[in-house]
């Protein structure tokens, strides 16, 4: 082994490079300011950045379904550990609602890690399954299939199952105080009923059905052990949305610009996530978290306007990246999201405890037709 290391060291020896940082930064700035537009991050990919849970990829935004769960957990709740026999279910969404967010809101959101300790469960690994029946068995829910598809899509679909995951978060007033002091900030005192309380977030298996070029777009097949090839970070494990630049080393690059090579339709289905608590209520959490610095009054107002926080899953939509409006789908009220790049959009709704999402490179009308055809 020592010989191998010595050999590798010799083989990999290279002359040192001492880059001129000032020149390099000027070069980069010039490219940023004058270069051609590449595909900007789709809104749910940017939102996922906000909820980095100490892992680069936890839940891949597939039609916004999984992203909605992760973001909801970050915006209103923080994942934490449940204690058997003492955990109360404080969040079990029955409907969804949009929360418009300005870009600055995302950047200024406080770091959840400053308020306590997160513990993550095993990183879920997406698994390819053979067919709809296998996907239903793996996910534990009847998986619906589209009865009609937009023109231009192949009839055959690929199915991926992303196992459920869990995370816990325990609040700590001492940690929050120390973090604030380090930043020379003064924070609202953490209420006694929050300090030491634990939240546990459980997400259920998600089934993703992909038609068209989406299998390369998502890069869900294969990947390193314990890691789904999903985005949100670099590396081989980062999933393949667009292009090598977007996910260096990731699989399934479709084009240098990151645009999908051909039409794509993605259908995501997942039982709604559940958050349990060792005692703190949703209202107490919402009141406390929304009083923290970095959350604009507009965002506070938008979150408070979504209705009952115990049963409503907020879907944050950066206003510069996507537009959202209510839409009737499958006889319930859902959300239609249109990406500001014009690439496509998605429709999200919840029904009977399952969150559905249909997204792709199609018009709202086409996506709605596909969504309504699910059976």
């Amino acid at each position: 082994m020592a010989d191998d290391a010595a050999a590798a060291g010799q083989l990999l020896a290279v002359p040192a490079v001492n880059p001129d940082l000032a020149v390099a930064l000027l070069r980069l700035r010039y490219r940023i300011d004058t270069g051609p537009e590449t595909r900007p991050a789709v809104w749910y990919e940017r939102v996922i950045d906000m909820v980095k849970l100490q892992r680069r990829q936890l839940i891949r935004p597939l039609g916004g379904v999984a992203a909605a769960a992760a973001v909801a957990g970050a915006l209103v709740f923080t994942p934490a550990g449940a204690l058997a026999g003492k955990a109360l279910t404080i969040f079990e969404p029955q409907q969804i609602a949009v929360v418009p967010i300005n870009p600055g809101d995302l950047r200024s959101l406080p770091d959840l890690a400053d308020y306590g300790t997160m513990t993550m469960g095993p990183t879920p690994t997406a698994q390819h399954v053979a067919d709809l029946n296998a996907a239903s068995a793996a996910a534990g829910i009847p998986v619906l299939q589209a009865g009609s598809l937009p023109a231009g899509l192949p009839g055959a679909a690929s199915y991926e199952v992303l196992p459920g995951s869990s995370a816990s978060f325990t609040f700590s007033a001492a940690k929050a105080k120390a973090a604030a002091a380090a930043k020379s900030q003064t924070l609202p005192a953490m209420p006694a009923n929050i300090d030491g309380s634990t939240l546990h977030l459980s997400t259920n298996p998600a089934v993703v059905t992909v038609y068209g070029a989406g299998s390369s777009l998502l890069g869900l097949n294969g990947g390193s052990a314990g890691q789904a090839k999903e985005v949100a970070g670099a590396g081989q494990t980062s999933a393949g949305a667009a292009g090598e630049l977007r996910h260096p080393g990731g699989a399934g690059t479709s084009s240098a610009s990151g645009q999908p090579a051909g039409p794509v339709l993605i259908i995501g289905q997942m039982k709604a996530p559940v958050v349990t608590s060792t005692g703190v209520t949703v209202t107490d959490l919402e009141t406390y978290l929304l009083s923290q610095p970095g959350i604009s009054p507009q965002l506070v107002s938008a979150i408070k306007s979504i209705g009952d926080p115990t049963s409503t899953m907020p879907i944050p939509v950066p206003v510069n990246m996507a537009a959202a409006h209510p839409i009737q789908v499958h006889g319930v009220s859902g959300l239609s999201l249109a990406d500001s790049t014009g690439i496509g959009g998605g429709i999200i709704w919840e029904q009977n405890g399952v969150i559905y999402g249909v997204a792709g490179t199609f018009t709202e009308q086409q996506l709605l037709a596909a969504a309504n055809s699910l059976h």
Binding site: D4, Q236, P248, G249
Partner: protein, 185 residues
């Protein structure tokens, strides 16, 4: 309220610019070094580093806690992709031609052209051998031999910290085998 909101947005943009520049200052040299480890070409290494930072700027917040890890991993994978020719073949041929031209201009070439040529050929073989390794193994080699700690390698590549050593040893063995079995592929 609109004026205040605009002013606030402007402050946020300035904060974001400053944060990105801080990140750049902190990590650019390391990113170049990682790319250089794979490419053994200073110009290509800086080109790769530029692409990495450009991609990061388009996708992520500079204050993201994963920023450094992302950049490190991206540097390794971007450079490996170049080696494997996933970019346009012409770019590699151009780079090789440039490398050849630079070699001819080097002091070493002037003093001992045969030795310089042999060194360049060996360097090319090593890069190609790296490109034939499994992605994770090649990336571990690139990062570890660029000076990253086991913890940093773990963060960048998502490998459990207690497995980095094992992956590294296997990668070293694999590289040695590639060079032994196929030295002139």
């Amino acid at each position: 309220m609109a004026v205040a909101a605009n002013r606030w947005a402007s402050v946020r943009r300035q904060d974001a610019t400053t944060a990105f520049e801080r990140l750049f200052a902190a990590e650019y040299a390391r990113v170049v070094a990682i790319a250089q480890r794979v490419l053994a070409d200073a110009h290509e290494a800086e080109d790769a580093a530029q692409e990495v930072f450009y991609a990061f700027h388009r996708q992520h917040n500079a204050d993201a806690p994963f920023a450094a890890a992302w950049l490190h991993a991206a540097a390794a994978h971007t450079a490996l992709n170049i080696v494997r020719g996933k970019r346009r073949r012409a770019r590699r041929e151009t780079a090789e031609a440039l490398a050849g031209a630079r070699l001819q201009e080097s002091d070493e070439a002037a003093l001992d052209p045969q030795r310089a040529l042999e060194r360049a050929e060996r360097c090319r073989e090593v890069r190609e051998a790296l490109g034939r390794l499994q992605e994770r193994q090649a990336a571990v080699l690139a990062l570890r031999y660029s000076g990253l700690s086991y913890a940093d390698v773990s963060s960048a590549l998502g490998i459990p910290a207690d497995q980095v050593g094992t992956v590294l040893r296997r990668a070293e063995l694999a590289l040695r085998k590639e060079m032994t079995v196929e030295p002139h592929r």
